[in-house]
């Protein structure tokens, strides 16, 4: 079957199939008649596997590692169990980051509701944003204590 047929079967775009072919995760035969790529049912299974793995947050490189095992007939299940455990931890961290960002944003909205607009000056672009904290920096270290409550975190 050709690229767009496979794509349609799995409800994805031809570009996606081409991408995974380009990076070597799919290796279709080349039609001798017109040089078009000819995908087998196994290719479709592989593509389906890729989609499932991506859906769980696995990266392409991680999928490559999995294939490097299974393509030699070895089971990848042990490896996959390890990987997903690690992925769960990463996700937990990112989750915390999201929570922080969300709080930062709503704090800013709240805080700004009491402040007026201002025109920019030489070294002040928009006091609303500048009033928020941005990473520990030399500047911060040297800044005198402000009356404005910090939005950090």
């Amino acid at each position: 079957m050709r690229v767009n047929q496979l794509a349609k079967n799995l409800n994805i775009t031809g570009d996606t199939v081409r991408f995974y072919t380009r990076i070597g995760l799919l290796s279709p035969a080349k039609s001798s008649v017109n040089g078009y790529k000819d995908y087998s049912d196994k290719d479709q299974s592989r593509m389906q596997f890729i989609l499932s793995a991506r859906n769980l947050g696995f990266s392409v490189d991680e999928i490559k590692v999995i294939f490097s095992r299974t393509d030699q007939g070895e089971s990848a299940c042990g490896l996959v169990r390890q990987m997903i455990q690690q992925k769960l931890e990463e996700t937990e961290k990112q989750f915390e980051e999201m929570v922080k960002l969300r709080r930062k944003l709503s704090n800013a909205v709240e805080d700004w509701s009491h402040k007026p607009d201002k025109a920019p000056t030489g070294n002040m672009i928009c006091h609303l944003i500048e009033g928020t904290y941005a990473e520990s920096s030399q500047l911060e270290a040297n800044r005198e204590a402000s009356m404005t409550p910090s939005l950090e975190d």
Copy 2:
């Protein structure tokens, strides 16, 4: 001051400063003696603003828009208030996605704990992953009802 001095002042890398210079958000003078870029205090303020904005989740393109106003002496505060409101909504959506992913992952870990490892076959790479759901697809639509509880969502 030169690139690395500015970087040190703000506790970032020289590469970061070079990046923002390259895309035109910073426009240092060129030293006539050696051609090195010469950053002013205003450049440092701009860089600090960029850091604060990035810290709130603003993209470089959004920062460009803000600068395009303030560089003409107009206040960007109104614009910024709008933008942050929108950003808060986007963050909310991403947050939901994180929650979903987290649940998917822990469901998988839980589910897999009852399943054995298996060697790959022609169209089965790792049954653990394949047992999870991956986007509504033609395949899914055609799949017979399984005894395995779906991990979707």
